[in-house]
Symmetry: C2
Subunit: 368 residues, 2 copies
């Protein structure tokens, strides 16, 4: 397996990542503690999709003594948003609602420009506009949500990034990200920009505010470095909460990617979703109907089932029944796929409606 | 000798620098060609203080066919301005007047923060304000002069810097500046920001405009790299014109520095100037009055004479007479120093008056 901020491949062993990255597993006692504040926890937590954290207990300690945190997450625009991208944002929205906190949403519009050979700023700018619509469509509170765009807001961010950069040597970047001497100097500097939203609200408000970052586990190397540096600048170490990757339709290795046509994009039509799921969704079912009825399917490797578990079936009882029926052979792959198609299309219909409406709302979210 | 953008020491051999850096010497035919446009050339040119260039002939070719250039120079604020700093700016002002061109003046207020251990942004910001007064005091045309400040104008500059950065590897920075793996990632990125003003006017005006950079020779590694990159982005290679260093009072090695108390600062009082010149100015005179009268002094190593030649005595005939009298022993070191003190104080009196007035003019110069 390979897990870096720029590449995820192979069969991801999350227990190994927990050890290697040094994050902590979210256990039942932490879930119970969260429940005190949120009521029933989000299914992404209950089902272990958000599975690890750093300093989440400290965030709750501070919250309980009246010191509210803010949320920070982001999106590097370079292509369309797929459903895998939405997971941490949906979770961030839930946290915003339950804790009544601000969200600082970073659009590092230079990142993909710096890391991908063939992409120009014109293209990242186009996707920046498109991607913002998807974020807004999830229903964030515009009064509590601030979009910051690296190139546009550099007048605010670059100075802060320099403060971070002064504390990071090339040696540190080498060991954190595996960059070498052939890396371009924008790539080398970039992690300083990704660190900034973790303390920018503290700079702006002139007081130290705890930060909680919901993110997919591949981004952890950035925030590990950020955590080392921020105390040296007089700010709290940001806390974080990590989710696993939504697998690609082709199977449970790697993660869904913008560059693959088979990914489910937020702008897909019902017919496209139908075709993609039918054609590509890796099945845990048996080769023949007879064998399936007899031996049952395997939901653990069945991508359709996993999508229901990770995203489209919030109802635990319903999910349990589906799992049982699939394992027993009562539910066929085709039926499972039809159910998933229906659920995705219900979600996307609503999302696309909100996405359309979002076109007039961008201004409310831009940080000024 | 050592000549980098961050350190100048030893006995600087300019002919060696010409070979090592690959710049061209300004010869008499080029001076004659300049004269066609400027009338009598500035004494900084005539006396070989501005001694080398890159592509100055091309700048004149373009100018002669109606394609005006713009000037770019700058100042990294971290301390008071001394008279050595003023040399390239005075020359830039002369070029602005003679060619009627725009000047883009960069204040990279992050540079010294990134390269010096103990300096914070609060201090660079204080000096930024002070240093701008010295630039304005030289009489630049506010309609044709634009101050850009890296951290403040990063909203405009950072994106352009990323375009440069994408074309520069750490390997290139290593060989150009001698940085190693222990360099901080802000230092590594910095040269991209210094490249930006060489094409920013072209970006803003949406057409390719030739750029001429008057600067002290130690900054050449930045612009050598800039020249390699800009054509890859579709812009002209910037041309440049280099000056030698004003020596420190202590002798003809190294260059005058902000961090030495004995430097002549633009805010020095007449009494301070008097004391510094009397106490520190290295003399090319003889040990005794008798010996001096007999054998004469050596103006080549006499700092007072060099200051007159490089800055304070624009009158060629007068300077020639002083040199002759000093070499013959007719003029004593004490007399030479008195003359220099008088000239510096005349200059500073006027400069300080204009500097005071500049306090209400900063706004006219800031790029908006």
């Amino acid at each position: 397996m390979k897990v870096t901020p720029w590449e995820v491949s192979g069969d991801v062993d999350y227990d190994k990542l927990i050890r290697e990255f040094g994050v902590s597993k979210i256990d039942s006692s932490l879930l119970k503690r969260l429940e005190k504040h949120t009521g029933k926890t989000h299914f992404l937590l209950r089902r272990g999709i958000f599975f690890a954290h750093r300093d989440l207990k400290w965030i709750l300690d501070e919250y309980e003594r009246g010191n509210k945190f803010f949320l920070y997450t982001g999106r590097a625009p370079s292509g369309p948003v797929h459903i895998g991208h939405l997971m941490p944002w949906i979770f961030a929205k839930w946290l915003q609602d339950k804790f009544g906190v601000e969200l600082w949403f970073q659009f590092p519009d230079e990142e993909k420009f710096l890391f991908k050979k063939d992409i120009e700023f014109g293209e990242t700018q186009k996707w920046l506009g498109e991607n913002m619509l998807d974020v807004i469509a999830l229903g964030f509170d515009p009064k509590k949500t601030h979009f910051i765009i690296d190139t546009k807001d550099a007048g605010l961010m670059y100075r802060e990034a320099c403060k971070v950069a002064k504390k990071i040597t090339f040696n540190m970047v080498k060991s954190s990200f595996g960059l070498d001497d052939s890396a371009n100097i924008g790539q080398i500097f970039y992690t300083s920009m990704q660190a900034v939203p973790a303390f920018l609200p503290s700079v702006i408000k002139g007081k130290n505010i705890p930060c909680l970052i919901p993110h997919a586990i591949d981004q952890d190397p950035h925030f590990r470095l950020t955590r080392d540096i921020l105390p040296k600048l007089g700010y709290y170490k940001p806390a974080s909460i990590q989710c696993i990757f939504l697998p690609p339709l082709s199977g449970t290795e790697g993660k869904m990617s913008s560059s693959e046509n088979s990914s489910i994009f937020t702008t897909d039509s019902p017919r496209e979703v139908e075709a993609k799921i039918r054609k590509y969704a890796f099945s845990g079912g048996r080769d023949t109907l007879e064998e399936h009825r007899k031996k049952g399917g395997n939901p653990d490797v069945d991508v359709s089932f996993q999508y229901l578990r990770m995203f489209f079936e919030p109802d635990d009882k319903k999910l349990e029944q589906i799992e049982k029926d699939y394992r027993s052979g009562k539910l066929l792959t085709g039926e499972l796929k039809e159910y998933l198609i229906k659920k995705i299309n219900e979600f996307l219909k609503e999302h696309q409606k909100r996405r359309e409406k979002a076109k007039t709302e961008i201004n409310k979210f831009l940080f000024k």
